[in-house]
């Protein structure tokens, strides 16, 4: 149970190798419980752990995380769109030639095969470790089972997920918009959703590096010298 006593708990930093073993143990626990559903893992020794599971096993992975691994404190749930943004940093001058957008999808820790990846995190108060669970969503079926039976607090996170990424949460039942007006079109945190403020009004930093109008004219008046110098 939760320790009710307060304060003077000894907090000597744990040995790195020991913590690493604990994280390997967590991976073993997940493989034992879920079998082939664990498709990728990544450990940063002494620090953090990522486990990727299949979409079918998403909810059972949640129960393993909460009950078997003891990560009872829910932190967050969200998604990553791994498509490189076709708009870049939005700092290009509007007069420049548009760059060819990069469309190669490179995913992060614990791998990934698809553009959209949902990830959630919970921590344990007994082992003092956190764990990030990831799951891939196929492009033609952006849906995932709800985690409401696992953590009640996931409610708003899943509403945000639906609103910002357009990912359907099966079994949630109340996916009303959380932030945006009801008539809003599109899913703002997708990479192919343009940040319209940047397109309506260009980034003010661009103005600083534009050449002054007089600059190109000055060498033209004295063309031969400029050529000789160059």
């Amino acid at each position: 149970m939760i320790p009710l006593s307060s304060a003077d708990v000894d907090t000597a930093p744990e040995e790195t190798a020991e913590v690493d073993e604990a994280r390997q143990g967590l991976i073993e626990l997940f493989t034992e419980e879920l079998g082939d559903a664990v498709v990728g893992t990544h450990v940063r020794p002494g620090d953090d752990l990522w486990i990727r599971v299949t979409r079918e096993a998403w909810r059972s992975a949640g129960f393993v995380l909460r009950d078997k691994a003891g990560h009872r404190s829910f932190e967050f749930l969200s998604a990553i769109d791994w498509l490189p943004s076709p708009f870049g940093l939005g700092k290009d001058s509007p007069t420049d030639e548009p760059k060819e957008p990069d469309t190669e999808i490179v995913t992060g820790y614990a791998g990934g095969d698809t553009r959209f990846q949902v990830f959630a995190r919970a921590q344990s108060y007994t082992t003092k470790m956190g764990l990030t669970l990831k799951v891939d969503l196929p492009d033609d079926d952006l849906s995932i089972e709800t985690w409401l039976p696992v953590f009640a607090g996931v409610n708003w996170h899943e509403r945000e997920l639906h609103e910002m990424f357009g990912i359907d949460v099966i079994g949630h039942g109340h996916l009303a918009p959380l932030y945006l007006p009801g008539a809003f079109e599109g899913h703002p945190l997708r990479k192919d959703f343009p940040l319209l403020a940047r397109h309506v009004k260009p980034w003010p930093g661009i103005v600083d590096i534009e050449p002054m109008p007089e600059v190109p004219e000055a060498p033209a008046a004295d063309g031969t010298d400029a050529e000789a110098a160059g």
């Binding site: 829910f74 969200s78 940093l89 009640a152 945190l189």
Partner: protein
């Protein structure tokens, strides 16, 4: 640059115009629907609570937010790392410096840079000063919501001492923008340590004053004891953090239990919990937190190491590809940044885990069955900042 269709532009304009959506439909089968907010003194900003009433009793309460949504997660994707720091400053505007730290730490973790000890200690001092500035206002504010005006004046008066100290280091009272990847912008000014310790004495007096004025007050106790009880299991389910969690009896503080390189493990202090889980417990735990924070600041000022305040970092900051989640115990609770980098000038994706978002999610659960005035007590005691919910 991909072309933007006119349709998308019109949708954007429409969305902006519809920002003041006040007529959200709330289905009513029975009872009366009452709107609290968007502008209501108990909501610390523009949060709207739609409550369905049967007489004086609340049948259901549903928070409606989004009035403060600024889209920081999207904006962070088009900014470079130093620029993101100015954005995240504005998430919890009462404890701004504390917002910068976990983000900088996440970037430092991926860059494998570590700030020198002096920088870490000054970071911790400023972090705790932000906590005091934030929570001292809460103490006055909570009393104000329950009808005691005087405490709020005391809170505003004494918070100034802390804000002055923050201002004299960073130049900003509210938005310091002082933390840098690899260290800090500047060292402490001359004479600052003595002034800070004097201010800490005043803040301890403020806590005593609050105990005299508020904590022991009969009316205050009558209105907070047993109101809005959140059991520990529910708190964990909803992912509550910070003082709200500790007031439910869970002994957990990231400063002690998950050290991130800052100087909290170098000093002697205590994590307070309260077994009751009601509004009074949440108030009481926060008052103790101010006291502990002043103790931490005092000890850190005494033992401040000398040395540089900036590690060697390149002029143009590029963070190597990778993912990192760093969370710290902010004034409102656990604040974390999940940073995904692809090696560029700015974050590829930045998931901001804010404490208030999880803390307010428990409102529908805890408000069921209470009386209308208790809704005010519960909202005030949960203590959220709207910028921290909506981001």
């Amino acid at each position: 640059m991909t072309a933007i269709s006119d349709r998308q532009k019109v949708a954007y304009a429409n969305a902006q115009a519809a920002d003041g959506r006040v007529n959200l439909e709330f289905e009513t089968q029975e009872g009366m629907t009452l709107n609290m907010g968007p502008q209501h003194p108990a909501t610390h900003g523009t949060l709207r609570i739609v409550v369905k009433l049967d007489g004086e009793q609340v049948l259901a309460a549903e928070p409606v937010m989004g009035y403060m949504h600024r889209g920081y997660e999207k904006l962070a994707e088009v900014r470079d790392y130093p620029q993101v720091t100015t954005l995240v400053n504005r998430i919890d505007w009462l404890g701004s410096f504390a917002n910068e730290v976990p983000f900088i730490l996440a970037a430092e973790k991926l860059m494998e840079v570590e700030a020198p000890p002096r920088a870490q200690w000054i970071r911790t001092i400023l972090f705790e000063l932000s906590r005091i500035a934030n929570i001292s206002l809460f103490a006055g504010d909570m009393a104000l919501h329950l009808g005691a005006l005087t405490a709020a004046f005391y809170a505003f008066r004494d918070r100034e001492f802390v804000l002055n100290q923050i201002e004299s280091v960073t130049g900003g009272r509210f938005h310091p923008y002082f933390d840098r990847i690899g260290g800090l912008k500047d060292d402490l000014p001359k004479g600052w340590i003595a002034d800070t310790k004097a201010a800490m004495v005043k803040l301890r007096d403020f806590c005593d004053e609050m105990d005299d004025l508020v904590t022991g007050n009969e009316i205050f106790e009558a209105r907070t004891r047993g109101i809005g009880v959140i059991p520990a299991e529910v708190a964990l389910q909803y992912g509550l953090s910070g003082a709200n969690l500790r007031a439910s009896g869970v002994d957990w503080d990231l400063r002690r239990d998950h050290p991130v390189g800052l100087a909290w493990d170098q000093v002697d202090w205590k994590v307070w919990t309260h077994p009751d889980g009601d509004s009074f417990a949440r108030f009481w735990v926060r008052i103790q937190e101010i006291r502990e924070a002043t103790k931490i600041v005092d000890q850190l000022c005494d033992g401040l190491p000398s040395g540089p305040i900036m590690a060697k970092v390149p002029r143009i900051i590029k963070v190597p590809a990778g993912e990192a989640y760093v969370a710290t115990e902010n004034p409102l609770g656990e604040m974390g940044y999940y940073l995904v980098s692809k090696g560029g000038l700015g974050p590829f994706r930045l998931k901001i885990k804010t404490p208030s978002f999880n803390n307010v999610a428990v409102v529908p659960w805890v408000c069921r069955g209470v009386l209308v005035p208790d809704v005010i007590t519960i909202l005030a005691s949960l203590y959220f900042i709207l910028g921290d919910i909506d981001r």
